[in-house]
Every structure is written in C-alpha cells, then in structure tokens.
C-alpha cells in the first residue's frame, strides 16, 4: 500500500486529567527529534499545551475563527417566519412577524438563509475563537482557543485542524478534549492513530470504555498508555485485553513526576518517559501500515 506522507496521532482519554496534554506534548517532542512535528491543542475550551513550552516564539499573529451568522434585513423581511420554522436549534424566534436571532445558540448552518424566500437574511462573520501558532526548537505548536461564553467549540477545532493541515508537517500530534461527545469527535476525525491515556482508577476505566467505542465507530486504530501506573488498583490491562486494544506504554506514578506536572515542566531528561514515547510512535507506525486512513473511509 502507499506510504502515508502525513501522520496524525490523536491523544484522548474520555476522562479528564489522566495526562492527555502531558503525553501529547512529550509525544510531539519525541517525534520532533526525527521529523518535522506539530503539536495541535484541540482542547479549545481549556487549551493548556502551550504551558509546557513557555519559551516558544510566536509564529505570526493569532488568526480569528469565525462562523457565519444571519442577520435580518428588516426592509426585505416578509414576516413569513419560514426561517424560524426550519431552524432546528431554536435560534430564530418569530413573534408577530418580527424575527429575532439568538446569536449564542445559532450554529451558522445557513439553512435559514437558503430557505428565505425574500433573501432577507444576510450573513456576517462572528468571531468565536482564534488559533495561535508558535515554535519551540524544531517543534511547531498550534492551539485553538474558544472565546469564553461561546459554545461553538467544534468550529474552532475544525479551524485549528485546517491550519495544521496547511502547515504540511509530517507528524501531527493532537491533544484532544475530554469526553466522547461532539468536541472529542471532531478532534478525532481524520486521525490515523489514537493514543488513549488511562490511569488505574475506576473512573478512568469507565470513560476509557466509551472512548474505545468511539474509536471503533470512527474506524481509528487505538492503543492505550497506562499513565500513573500504581496510583490506583483498577486493572487497566485486563480491561484493554477484553476489548482487544493493546497497552502500548506504561508510565509509573511517582510524586516527582506529579510535581513536574503541576508546575508545567517537561520531563525530557526522564528516560523512561521518552523511551515510552518512542515505543508509542513505533506502535502508531506499525498500526498504520495495516490500516487505511480513516478520512478515506476505509475500515481496518
């Protein structure tokens, strides 16, 4: 089969706080030693990966992310309220033939605009967030950041994905949001390989199960990193074996690592960690040799 010229590894978990950002940052760092790499922070509600690289130099100004939202041209509006009827999000309200638009709930799908018989809905850009890029050594950093108070996280995620694609960098590592609903789905879509970060707690296992199901429905091959090994006694290994997902790395819990983690310091000199990252990159390469990229609609 053909060589995959661009590799996208997504790092996700289901549960928050298991170490996604830590793993994604170190994975990108390990990858950047051998090829051009970009770390893309898609946890746009709580982007934290830049925190690991305080000395990174900005690459140009932030780029605004906008969605196209309708406004009503009162001169042209016939007051038919057809727009309010077609809106599935309840974002348009017609009272007595006067249409008002709730720009907080509008998703910018454009259905109302296309269906208005009078052409009275005019679209304008509304900023919902931004993307920022920076460089730390050979590693390129990119983050999506949703505006506080907005709910259109998926628009920011998609914009960050596009900007990463434009960069054309050979290895892309995505730091994904927690959970398994829309933001996580958008962050995972198009990835060639998924690294799931689990900790040995019942909470983490429960959410890992949901994340594995999501990976399967998106046809993305996945492997699990057992992080904070020894911190709890839940059996991640058996859980993964039962679901036929390989455990591709183990990182033992230790107080020093926890201290570095809270202080936002990289563990580059931590040989066990960096060896684990190299092993994960190798696992991803192996898995991808047997799979068609998800974006092309293939199944493993």
């Amino acid at each position: 089969m053909s060589e995959i010229s661009r590799v996208i590894i997504a790092v996700a978990s289901g549960k928050g706080g298991t170490g996604k950002t830590t793993i994604a940052s170190h994975l990108a760092l390990a990858g950047s030693m051998k090829r051009a790499a970009i770390l893309v922070d898609l946890d746009v509600e709580a982007p934290d990966s830049f925190g690991y690289f305080p000395a990174a130099a900005p690459l140009g100004p932030p780029e605004a992310v906008s969605v196209r939202l309708p406004t009503v041209d009162a001169q042209r509006c016939l007051g038919c309220s057809h727009c309010a009827k077609v809106c599935r999000f309840g974002a348009l309200i017609a009272i007595g033939g006067v249409v008002t638009i709730d720009e907080r709930t509008c998703k910018g799908c454009g259905r109302c605009v296309a269906s208005c018989p009078a052409g009275a809905l005019i679209e304008q850009d509304l900023e919902v967030g931004e993307t920022r890029a920076a460089r730390s050594g050979t590693l390129v950093l990119l983050e999506g950041r949703m505006k506080v108070g907005d709910i259109r996280s998926t628009a920011v995620i998609e914009a960050a994905k596009k900007r990463a694609e434009r960069s054309g960098v050979a290895l892309e590592v995505r730091d994904c949001p927690p959970g398994t609903s829309c933001p996580a789905v958008h962050a995972l879509a198009g990835a060639n390989y998924l690294v799931l970060v689990a900790e040995p707690t019942e909470f983490s296992l429960h959410d890992l199960g949901a994340a594995i199901e999501l990976a399967m429905s998106l046809h993305i091959p996945a492997g699990v990193i057992l992080n904070k090994d020894g911190f709890g006694s839940a059996d991640v290994e058996s859980f993964c074996a039962a679901r036929r997902v390989p455990v591709i790395g183990r990182i033992a819990f230790d107080r020093k690592r926890a201290q570095k983690g809270v202080a936002g310091m990289l563990w580059q000199e931590d040989q066990e960690m960096m060896a684990c990252m190299d092993a994960v990159l190798a696992s991803a390469d192996t898995a991808m040799r047997f799979c068609v990229p998800a974006e092309e609609g293939g199944k493993p």
């Binding site: 706080g17 934290d48 196209r68 789905v185 809270v262």
Partner: protein
C-alpha cells in the same frame, strides 16, 4: 437550592468533591451528574438505579442509497463537512458523528433521498446511593452530540426529585462549553475547584470569567496542594484576584484516592487530608447558606 461544582480542567477532583459534599448533606440532597459523556457519579456514590428512560436527541438524517442521484448538492449545503461521497462515487453518505442535524441538506436534495430517523442517543437514570443522597445521571452514547440538552434533562429530573426544599448538587463537566453553561444556568452558587497546577489555574480563570458573565455567585476550593508551594501560592492569588471567598484547600494525598477505592468519599477519610476536606465542606456550607438566605 442548587449548587454546582466545576473546574474548567478535567481531573481536578469535581466528582470526588461533589460526592463528599453529598455525603455531608445526606438524604436532603440530590446529585445531578452532568458530565454526561464521562459520567462517574454512579461509581463514586455507589448508585442503585431504580428508574431509567431513553434519551432522544432529536431526529437525525441519513441518505438512501437507492434514491440518491449523486448530484452533490447536499455536500455543498453542509457546512460541517458531514456529507461525503461513498466509495465508487454513485451516492453520498452522512457521517453521523459529524452531523449537526441542521437539515440544510434536506432542503437542497431534489431527489428526496434524505430521510429522518430517530434513535436512542443515551439513557437517563434515577438512582439511590449508599450515602442517602439520590442521584440523577445519564449515559450519552459515545459519539453523540447534544450533551447540553441531556444536561438540561438531568437537571430537570434532579429538580423534581429535590422538590422546593431540597438541595441539588450539580457535578459539572470539564471545559467551558455548552454542557458547562447548561450545568451552571439557574444555580445559586458555583463551587470553583481550582487544581493547584499551571493548567488547573489557567482553566479555572476561564471558568470564573464564564460564571461571572452569567452572574453566578462563586466559592473557591483549591485541590492538590502541597506538590509545589509556588503553585499553591499562585492558586491562592488567582482566587484572591477574582474576589472569591476561599472555603478551603485539599492536599494531594494518596489516602484520598485509596479511600475512594474502598467505597468511601473524601468526607470520611481519617487524618490530615480528611480534616482539610471536612473543614472545606463546613466552610462551603456556611458560605452557601449565606447565599441562599439573601
């Protein structure tokens, strides 16, 4: 009265703190686990479900292959990249995980090939717990959207259980997006749980900004102190600068983790860490009471 526990960052200890507060309130309280796509309240509280109902997110769309004329108008209309050509190119398909269910494609399809279908997107549960508090919770199926809508359903169910006099404790999801906004809406007080870490503090600041814009009253609790004294100080400074009362600090201590594995909440842990939890919850209760009276 409704109190939400939120943190911005995931893994800051929301569910653990919520469970400990629920243990302190006992039977008078109902927990609403609003982290519907990573719901751990049932595990933390030892839930015994006695009622469950299906959750429907609203009709979704799919394309009938036989009717599709492969004109591509639907894919052009879709702004979310959810419609793709099937292999072979003779028809199109909707990727359900990416579909926002707006229906823009339906209006554009001249062949009438796009049909709506309703399927279960999750389940809503009501449970008793071993703590005495009751629990309203849900399981959103992986890959489903509309978590904000399901959060509202969980909240409604919890409100009904609690009645006028009861206390509802909302365990909010991480982040600051739509399920978080749905979790904070209509609450009398938000407990901002700040993890004493670079990312914990940064995420808490974004959450505080959101809660303030919604006009919420807030109380802070700092978690995982003692790992890095400079970080502890930064967390305190962030709370001070935001003008929030600080109910207490909980140290990073393995005894809290191991107590949970034995089926206990933080409230009943012996020793210094447990004392910090009890002191924080006592302070929270008196602060929250004063908000409730106003």
């Amino acid at each position: 009265m409704t109190i939400a526990v939120a943190s911005g960052k995931g893994g800051a200890g929301k569910t653990s703190l919520t469970s400990a507060i629920a243990a302190a309130f006992g039977e008078s309280c109902v927990v609403a686990d609003c982290d519907v796509d990573a719901a751990n309240g049932a595990i933390a509280l030892g839930a015994l479900p006695w009622e469950s109902e299906p959750y429907f997110a609203g009709p979704g769309f799919s394309i009938e292959i036989a009717a599709c004329i492969a004109c591509g108008a639907c894919a052009e209309a879709c702004r979310f990249g959810a419609i793709r050509q099937r292999p072979g190119g003779n028809s199109y398909a909707i990727v359900p995980e990416l579909c926002e269910r707006c229906g823009a494609c339906v209006d554009r399809c001249t062949a009438g090939a796009i049909v709506t279908s309703e399927k279960e997107a999750g389940r809503l549960f009501v449970s008793d717990t071993r703590l005495g508090a009751r629990l309203a919770h849900a399981e959103l199926l992986p890959g489903e959207d509309t978590s904000g809508k399901l959060v509202r359903k969980v909240r409604e169910r919890a409100d009904r259980l609690a009645g006028h006099e009861g206390i509802v404790l909302v365990d909010a999801p991480p982040g600051i997006g739509c399920p978080v906004i749905a979790s904070l809406t209509g609450t009398e007080c938000v407990v901002i749980l700040v993890e004493a870490s670079v990312s914990g503090i940064r995420d808490a600041k974004r959450l505080i900004e959101l809660a303030a814009s919604m006009g919420r009253k807030m109380v802070a609790v700092i978690n995982k102190t003692g790992l890095d004294t400079a970080m502890d100080e930064e967390a305190r400074a962030a709370v001070r600068e935001a003008g929030l009362p600080l109910a207490g600090e909980i140290p990073f201590d393995p005894s809290l983790r191991s107590a949970e594995e034995r089926g206990m909440t933080w409230l009943n842990v012996e020793g210094a860490a447990g004392d910090c939890v009890r002191a924080a919850i006592a302070a929270l209760r008196s602060l929250v009471d004063s908000y409730g009276r106003r």
